[in-house]
């Protein structure tokens, strides 16, 4: 699946997005955040406060307990500050 990052999540990880291949036991958004955090220092920094991180599956807001199966794109970003 494709992962995309925005705002300070993007800056901390140092890329706008990437293809990721999480193992089968990574089933939910929250588990994916934990798996990504272990990928390196920059990921650990970006996801150091997982509760703050917002996620969207195929461009729809989701909570951390949602299943990621079948999704093509997952986005991680801080709380929104538009308007």
């Amino acid at each position: 699946m494709k992962a995309v990052y925005f705002a300070w999540v993007r800056e901390r990880i140092g890329k706008t997005g990437e293809e990721i291949l999480p193992p089968d036991d990574v089933k939910t958004v929250g588990q994916l955040i934990r798996w990504l955090s272990a990928k390196g220092e920059e990921y650990a920094y970006a996801f150091e406060k997982p509760d703050v991180i917002r996620a969207a599956l195929d461009r729809t807001h989701v909570k951390h307990d949602v299943d990621i199966a079948g999704a093509r794109e997952i986005a991680f970003f801080p709380p929104m500050t538009g308007g």
């Binding site: 995309v4 925005f6 705002a7 300070w8 969207a56 461009r59 729809t60 807001h61 986005a75 970003f77 801080p78 709380p79 929104m80 500050t81 538009g82 308007g83």
Partner: protein
């Protein structure tokens, strides 16, 4: 039916509002809200607005559809800019049109509350000394403002 645009360029609130009412005789109230970039006490050179292309349009469309379900609206415009925006410049426009003022006023307020907390946009500060400032933090007060509409709906 609703006009939804995500754009770098500026918009003209007056012409968007008049386009909404042109040739119509069923509209009794038009509310126009424009959000502008503040100088934040003179330290800010610009705000840089990042957005999630694709989702920004889709999420605003979901919020507009929600507003159209809650209030009898004859027209809606929602325009959100991205890129670098200087103090005094426009950031966001919401226009609502209805037969009666309460629906137009409430829907405009609802749209702004939901856009702030749901539309995937993020503001970064650029300071006058040339440095890149912080990302603007989401405000608790904006979350509370959006939540009161949930309560209003749950309560019937």
């Amino acid at each position: 039916m609703a006009v939804i645009r995500i754009q770098r360029e500026d918009f003209d609130a007056a012409s968007e509002a008049s386009a909404l009412t042109k040739g119509r005789t069923d509209i009794g109230a038009v509310v126009t809200f424009t959000g502008l970039c503040r100088a934040e006490g003179g330290k800010l050179a610009a705000l840089e607005l990042e957005h999630y292309p694709g989702m920004a349009e889709e999420e605003i469309a979901r919020v507009v559809a929600d507003a159209e379900q809650r209030w009898p609206l004859q027209g809606v415009v929602a325009i959100h800019r991205y890129g670098k925006i200087a103090p005094g410049e426009n950031i966001v426009l919401v226009v609502t049109a209805s037969s009666h003022r309460i629906a137009a006023l409430e829907a405009a307020e609802f749209l702004m509350d939901y856009l702030k907390t749901r539309a995937p946009f993020w503001k970064k500060e650029h300071l006058l000394d040339g440095s890149s400032g912080d990302w603007v933090e989401a405000k608790e007060v904006d979350d509370r403002a959006a939540e009161r509409w949930d309560v209003a709906q749950d309560g019937g």
